[in-house]
Symmetry: C2
Subunit: 605 residues, 2 copies
């Protein structure tokens, strides 16, 4: 199916919007009137620009407050419409959106509305234009799609049809089943938007909080399925009013938008994408740093040993149990431009820049990522290196799709040569989760990316109070918990560099691990005594248990499934480590303790 | 009355919060439990810190999910409460907030709730502690203040009273009249918060959008009046959960908070402040610039002439009609530290740094400003200068309270000596409005500041679409429109320096003024042709009228009262000018045209 996007969904000048839409692969655009008014380009120039970019102009929108008004007012409205129909001729588009009136002059009179919309359609027909009438969820008298359709049906004019908008329909809780009773050829246009389920005034909700399909709480696929059932063959078009997108660079937003339509089309069986990667674990994480000493010292106290080094690049492999960490002191460490290019904040010091994702079929996983518009990264490898598939996540993190010790598949470790004995694996240590702070403008995109590209499952979103601002955290995980990424973002764009990323290492005995860390000279994050007094009030512990936690700086949480004990190192550059012990099927990440941890991190900065 | 603030209302560590509260002049604090848990200070140390700062600890909060639960659960709750009562002893506070349960274990049984709260009060009494029971607006079974009071009444225990919270009461639309039936000595605590009328889920509304009294839409004074009528003699205490305040520096937020209570107390007749300044106009605006040439060239093309210079400083006075602009190339122009210190963005080039406000009693106006915690600025003057009263607005703008040609009052012009003939006043030009972009964290404070300190009247808030993000604009004006300041802010903190401030000059003939400007070599902001095509569709014009506007770059708007025609210069540094003609009592600022103007400004940058 053809895809389209309303220019209002993207940030910037009209030219920037058109370029971004075309680069992301959209077939067409809806021209939002205010974008045209504010553009120095004449309508003919906009038409030519679209043609050059391979975009059709699928809709001009909106025309407001037209119908069911006193005759003198309607005459003025027809005069206004004539001007706009002439403009549409210059712009090269044949469909105009008329949304149901919010004017105090409008009467609650369907017959009058139908009669005047018919006369508008008469005029439109003279210009070769079709009128798509849409019910705004807050229309004065017409606010539901079935009501708008009844008026269109009553007018019975070949140049008059209806426009369906998933937000207006689903925000009111209307049953989309009735859509199937509308003849497909009378559905002139279909606008799609999702939204989080906020339970707020519908006008404000629509104007500020729409998002792309799959990023909110509406069942957009079900609605589209019903529309397609009618025989509708127009484009799937996105119309999203969103305060964040308004501020974000248009290019990445357009890619995010088109990815949402690809995912939607896949769900509807309209397109064939390579199947999702069944990720089985984290093969490695890669830290880049201009100075390896502080972070390798920390890895040493955590029990890691340097086991191998890259054959051609200044990259060392540190291992413990199944946990593997690459420390890269190469040129990448000095060039944060990749991060900056995607809206991240350039940073100094040690950063978590890449993750190796264990996959049974890395090549297929990479094909899916590419099909879903993930930027494919140039392979940073010498001729003799193992082929490594890598794509960029929305936050700029490099994701390597790879295999470790899988017969028949190239092994990323083949690029490394051993430098030491393996350490005695004191614990069956592995990577439990990798917490990835996100640039503010890209959070919803990040969740959809990890779900659609990597096949991970988004968990519930939680608010976490940092002393200097609220954070939102949402984990994406695979089915068995072998891959877990809590994604975190501030409540408003601020200094993205404040919050470090971290690597959480799973252990079966966090107390022993914390003891060894301290004995090796490691300095745990200091946890306030008040926290332990509160634990004593909330839970009952065995004799000495709480004192052990207090002495070692171990935090404690419980959920319906089990117990979580965890422990933090101090931060090096922009990275810190956590040791976690999950018992009895605990599923979370210790969010209840996060405010204490964050305050402690601010205190030691 | 004593004033208090909950630590959750302020950003930062507990120490930072306490310091900010004390510096702003609060008498006490509510200690929010999470702030204590996250603090490295022991309760005794917090107590000592508060004592050193002259703060009492008025409340410990909250204790959750206590009442109306099965006996085994209640036993655990009593155990937890005992721990907290011990803690409160160490902290030196005697009142604890218990909020109505949200637990799924809670039963809808007032008798059980009363019985268990009575037993909690028994325990509290042993520790010399009082329990203040409050209805959360989203409590599971108890969600209204009168219901909570009925349970307290039923328990009939000397150590059990109720806590009233204006948000919980007014957000549900409860009638506060019933408050007067509660004996004052049973109201153990009063928490105050305002909120914008958002019509959203009450829990989310409360957690993210509370604000200080006078900054939202609730009638907080009416509620407080009723509480005082009962004989309540505890503190007026602010408890505000707000995503913006969480990110903003604690010091200025605490000042904003205390100012809101001063204004509230004034409204209730509880305190005597100097009366509001009856501002009569804008005496001057002051631009500071490291290089006067570009801005003075622009002033010249606008018809301004350099008429005087300061006797002791590098400041020139430019005049036209009643409009006066100071151009300051002194040290202030090179030191944006005043702006930075209040959260503003340091900027280069020409900035609008100060405004002279015409007042019949500048000294009284300054006394009021000082009483309302406006920072009084050191007078930048030599010994022979006229005394000038100056205070800083929340955005760092210097506000001079002054008089021009008023018998018996010092004249700010006395510091200046004439350098040229006055220009022939082509128009009865005066300053129509001064548009002041605000730092994101300080917008609500700015509105309250201008209302309370300067006696200006806030108008409706409007959203304006900038191509790179939504803006919110709210004008504050005096009764006759002689002083008008549209305050503008982005939807989220971004680069505050993007949007320039501007000075709008009133003229009786904007067409003639625009012609003279162009003839003098001035370059107007280029307005797109599409904008004029849209005007043609929307309005009917006399022959040639629209063409004139199109040729000159004049914008056009209408409201219910009259017509507005306006015209923009290009931006110099961070300042631009507008020429406006108001006819027939038009009241707005051309907000409908703002998206076109903003896009044009981005296009010429």
């Amino acid at each position: 199916m053809r895809t389209s996007i309303a220019t209002v969904s993207l940030s910037g000048s009209l030219t920037e919007k058109l370029t971004a839409a075309a680069r992301a692969g959209f077939d067409g655009v809806e021209i939002f009137e205010n974008d045209l008014l504010a553009s120095p380009l004449a309508p003919e120039e906009i038409r030519a620009r679209c043609a050059d970019l391979g975009l059709t102009v699928d809709l001009y929108q909106p025309m407001r407050d037209i119908e069911a008004v006193p005759e003198a007012e309607f005459a003025r409205n027809l005069r206004r419409a004539r001007h706009k129909f002439e403009l549409m001729g210059r712009l090269g588009t044949d469909t105009v959106l008329v949304c149901s009136s919010v004017s105090p002059l409008a009467e609650d009179d369907d017959a009058l509305a139908a009669e005047q919309l018919g006369r508008l359609a008469d005029l439109a027909q003279d210009f070769g234009i079709r009128v798509a009438y849409e019910a705004l969820a807050w229309g004065r008298h017409v606010s539901t799609y079935d009501h708008a359709w009844r008026i269109v049906e009553q007018a019975d004019h070949p140049a008059l049809g209806t426009c369906l908008d998933s937000f207006h329909i689903l925000s009111r809780g209307s049953d989309p089943k009735g859509i199937e009773e509308i003849p497909g050829e009378k559905i002139f246009f279909l606008q799609l938007a999702d939204a989080p389920l906020l339970g707020m005034d519908v006008l404000q909700w629509s104007r500020h909080h729409r998002c792309f399909p799959g990023q909110g709480g509406f069942d957009v696929p079900d609605l589209v399925r019903r529309v397609l059932h009618t025989g509708y063959d127009g484009p799937l078009s996105l119309e999203v009013f969103n305060d964040v997108f308004r501020q974000a660079e248009a290019g990445p937003t357009a890619v995010d938008a088109r990815r949402s339509l690809l995912v939607l089309q896949e769900e509807l069986g309209l397109t064939d994408l390579p199947a999702p990667a069944a990720l089985t674990g984290v093969a490695f994480t890669e830290l880049v740093t201009p100075d390896a000493e502080p972070v390798t010292a920390l890895l040493g106290t955590l029990g890691f040993a340097r086991t191998a080094r890259h054959r051609g690049k200044p990259v060392e492999l540190w291992e413990q149990g199944e946990a593997r960490i690459l420390v890269n002191t190469g040129p990448a460490a000095l060039s944060p431009s990749r991060l900056r290019s995607r809206g991240g904040t350039p940073v100094d010091g040690t950063t978590l820049a890449a993750i190796g994702l264990e996959s049974p079929d890395p090549a297929a996983a990479a094909r899916r990522a590419e099909a879903l518009l993930a930027p494919v990264l140039p392979r940073r490898r010498a001729a003799e290196d193992a082929p490594l598939e890598a794509v960029a996540a929305p936050d700029g993190t490099e994701l390597f799709l790879c295999a470790t010790n899988r017969p028949g598949l190239p092994d990323w470790r083949a690029d490394f040569e051993d430098v030491a004995q393996r350490p005695a694996a004191a614990d069956a240590l592995r990577i439990d989760h990798v917490a990835l702070t996100q640039p503010w403008h890209r959070f919803d995109e990040a969740v959809l990316f990890h779900r659609s590209v990597l096949g991970l499952d988004p968990q519930e979103s939680v608010d976490v109070a940092d002393p200097y601002g609220l954070l939102r955290s949402r984990a994406v995980t695979n089915a068995d918990g072998g891959v877990r990424f809590p994604l975190t973002v501030g409540a408003a764009p601020g200094d993205d560099s404040v919050h470090a990323r971290h690597i959480a290492l799973a252990t079966d005995d966090v107390v022993a691990a914390a003891r060894r860390f301290t004995a090796a000279g490691g300095r745990p994050l200091p946890i306030p005594a008040n926290y332990y007094d509160d634990l004593a009030a909330r839970f009952e512990f065995a004799d000495g248990e709480l004192e052990t936690y207090r002495d070692l700086g171990i935090l404690y949480d419980r959920d319906a499934h089990g117990v979580f004990r965890h422990f933090y190192t101090r931060t090096v550059g922009r990275v810190f480590f956590e040791l976690v012990q999950r018992d009895g099927g605990y599923r979370g990440y210790g969010a209840a303790n996060a405010p204490v941890r964050l305050a402690a991190q601010h205190a030691v900065r």
